[in-house]
């Protein structure tokens, strides 16, 4: 039993964080350069989950938490799941079906989209006529199709868990980003002639962001290992990880805005990027009450 990353895993984490910091900083999330996807592919981020790479889910979770911390494109999630269960490293859009509509994210230059239909992962064709536009999450382009396209289901039921796990990892990263942003600001922003982090009211908001991160990240690790081990309760553990990560991302984003005060409300500042991303993530392979009571 070992739930701490080993040396190799720490190296993956660090390399991911370093690359993201230099090439995909969070404050540019709404304005990614056109060539980013090509860069991601060249660096191997798009194909790293394919079976031949031999990465286990635990390592994937660590890497995707780092990508999520920098608000990497959500299209990487669908691409990664497709790479594992369909093969290849082609860009695959992320599909969120529901209410007779299909929402596609990061669908530029894709022909297929991956999503969850009635609890099963599937691929659907991306029509040539889509017109991507900005949605709530400014880091992802959105194309809304007013009918629910019929998907080709993926055979392996683990594909759903895989998408849930990676989305949970993104959410953990997003929660981390908000926690760190809030704490940094609380150290430098002064009111009443003191850093605001000196005040218990602010300090405790920040402390709670740290608690949520610790809780969600721990369960993420456990869930990834359970999936790797073929544990009988893996589905529950992944559902728990997804739920806690979604909550951490949303609540930490809210806390971060409150800590930032007026600045936190502005479009120019970064806190709202985490909030909007958290909302988007919560609709990717969402978890039901029944998922958490099963098994």
């Amino acid at each position: 039993m070992d739930l701490a990353p080993n040396t190799d895993q720490i190296a993956y984490q660090t390399a991911t964080a370093d690359w993201c910091r230099d090439n995909m900083p969070l404050d540019q999330a709404r304005n990614r350069p056109a060539g980013l996807w090509k860069q991601l592919a060249e660096m191997g981020w798009t194909g790293m989950t394919s079976p031949e790479m031999g990465l286990n889910h635990a390592t994937e979770a660590l890497v995707f938490a780092e990508l999520g911390r920098f608000l990497a494109p959500v299209g990487l999630l669908s691409t990664a799941v497709a790479a594992r269960w369909v093969g290849g490293d082609a860009k695959v859009a992320l599909a969120i079906p529901g209410d007779g509509k299909l929402r596609l994210f990061d669908a530029e230059d894709t022909t297929a989209a991956l999503g969850i239909w009635n609890g099963k992962a599937g691929l659907t064709m991306v029509p040539g006529t889509i017109e991507p536009r900005p949605g709530l999450d400014l880091s992802a382009s959105l194309s809304v199709i007013d009918l629910d396209l019929i998907p080709n289901p993926l055979e392996d039921p683990r594909a759903v868990h895989h998408l849930q796990l990676l989305a949970a990892a993104y959410a953990v990263g997003c929660a981390d980003a908000a926690r760190d942003m809030a704490a940094s600001y609380a150290k430098i922003r002064e009111q009443f002639e003191r850093p605001i982090g000196w005040f218990q009211a602010i300090k405790h908001i920040c402390a709670d962001t740290a608690v949520r991160c610790a809780v969600a990240r721990s369960q993420l690790y456990y869930a990834a290992c359970a999936l790797d081990a073929g544990d009988a309760e893996a589905a529950f553990h992944i559902a728990a990880a997804k739920r806690l990560a979604d909550q951490a991302a949303l609540e930490n984003a809210r806390a971060n805005i409150q800590v930032h005060g007026g600045i936190g409300m502005t479009d120019d500042a970064t806190p709202h990027l985490c909030l909007k991303r958290a909302h988007l993530l919560s609709f990717i392979a969402p978890v039901t009450t029944a998922d958490l009571l099963k098994g």
Binding site: D99, P134, L142, Q258, M265, T266, H279, F283
Partner: protein, 383 residues
């Protein structure tokens, strides 16, 4: 104690309702502040001409001189009728004007007040600074007295309608080296004066109604100081007692309308069959009722004693946090539709994003709790 209104008040309510029913414009108020300006001015003028502007303002400055209860009845009916937000006139009507009534010289009052009511003047606020948000007494913008003028340098932030305003209620430090609440003055600043630069600020809900204002050797006559040099803190605080708990009526009625709509929608969609959703809606309905009761109780205290009751400080905090709870449930009920939001949309998502400000602007929820603990319960001051 009694919840019924007098016959006269009930008649007044009917008058309000009838007039609003006949006169509320069908077209929506434009979101962009510059586009909205002619709309705001025309609507305010309509209100004024029909006798609905400045209901509780003194008659000599163009008001109606009516009671606080009538003022509330008007505000309730106004919100219920879905009448447009008064927009660019907000600061003049709800803040600048009342402050002048309480503190200004006869000349200042008779010049500005009628113009505010008729929307011939647009006002904006200049209190917060980049370094002085929750800590208003930390103001650094300074005004140096030179002859009969103040020479102003510094910056203000979170100023609504700065780019369309004619005047600004500006609080600045006029005594060099003074600290905290001392040495501040409340000044009527001409927004067209040379040396003023305006940088718009867009919010995460898409609106671009706010701005940062920069002052570079801006010259304002000393005659524009209200309440005396160095009296700025007292003047700024006085407005609170003029508002006397009416400041949040519009929000409160809106909260009640939103909850009723959410219950209707959830009943229609079947979402209310979920016990969790039903329970949350029920709780919000109870809280919205209590908020009205709390406001009525506070107003009754004012009518009876001339002063708001000790619970007045609770109203602001509860209104803002309840509003956020309502908005959060509203977007949860929308489900995935929230993902379609884009800047310029005017829907529950925009409201939800906008209302993050409720626990920040005008004193954060943290500061409000300090105030409640210290002033209502007598706990020792932390700051």
């Amino acid at each position: 104690m009694d919840i019924s209104f007098s016959a006269q008040e009930t008649r007044f309510r009917e008058e309000c309702r009838d007039w609003l029913h006949a006169n509320v414009p069908c077209e929506k108020r434009p979101l962009d502040p510059t586009e909205a300006l002619p709309f705001d001015k025309a609507w305010q003028r309509t209100l004024y001409d029909a006798g609905w502007a400045g209901i509780s303002w003194p008659k000599e400055y163009g008001g109606r001189g009516l009671s606080l209860i009538q003022q509330i009845i008007w505000l309730e009916e106004y919100a219920r009728a879905g009448a447009p937000w008064i927009g660019a006139n907000f600061v003049g009507i709800n803040h600048g004007g009342p402050t002048l009534i309480m503190n200004a010289s006869e000349a200042q009052k008779s010049f500005h007040l009628p113009r505010i009511l008729r929307a011939e003047e647009i006002w904006c606020q200049g209190f917060s600074e980049p370094g002085a948000g929750s800590d208003l007494a930390g103001i650094k913008t300074r005004g140096r007295v030179e002859g009969d003028e103040l020479v102003i340098n510094g910056s203000k932030i979170w100023t609504s309608f700065a780019h369309v305003a004619d005047w600004q209620e500006l609080v600045l430090r006029t005594e060099e080296g003074s600290l905290r609440h001392k040495g501040l003055s409340w000044v009527i600043c001409d927004m067209h004066a040379p040396g003023i630069t305006i940088r718009p600020i867009r919010l995460m809900s898409g609106e671009a109604e706010l701005a940062q204002v920069f002052y570079d050797d801006v010259r304002i006559p000393l005659a524009n100081v209200v309440g005396g040099l160095g009296e700025g803190w007292r003047v700024a605080m006085s407005t609170l007692s003029f508002e006397r708990g009416t400041g949040f009526i519009a929000d409160q009625v809106k909260h009640a309308i939103t909850v009723a709509r959410l219950i209707d929608d959830a009943s229609a969609s079947g979402a209310i069959k979920n016990d969790q959703i039903a329970g949350e809606l029920a709780q919000l309905r109870a809280e919205v009722a209590a908020l009205r009761a709390m406001t009525y109780r506070n107003i009754s205290e004012v009518v009876r004693t001339g002063q708001p009751g000790p619970e007045a400080s609770v109203i602001r905090l509860f209104t803002s946090e309840l509003g956020q709870r309502i908005d959060r449930l509203a977007v949860r009920l929308k489900g995935q539709d929230i993902l379609d939001f884009s800047y310029g949309d005017r829907d529950d998502t925009q409201e939800y994003l906008r209302h993050y400000a409720a626990t920040i602007a005008g004193g954060s929820a943290q500061i409000q709790r300090d105030i409640i603990g210290e002033r209502m319960l007598g706990l020792p001051k932390s700051r």
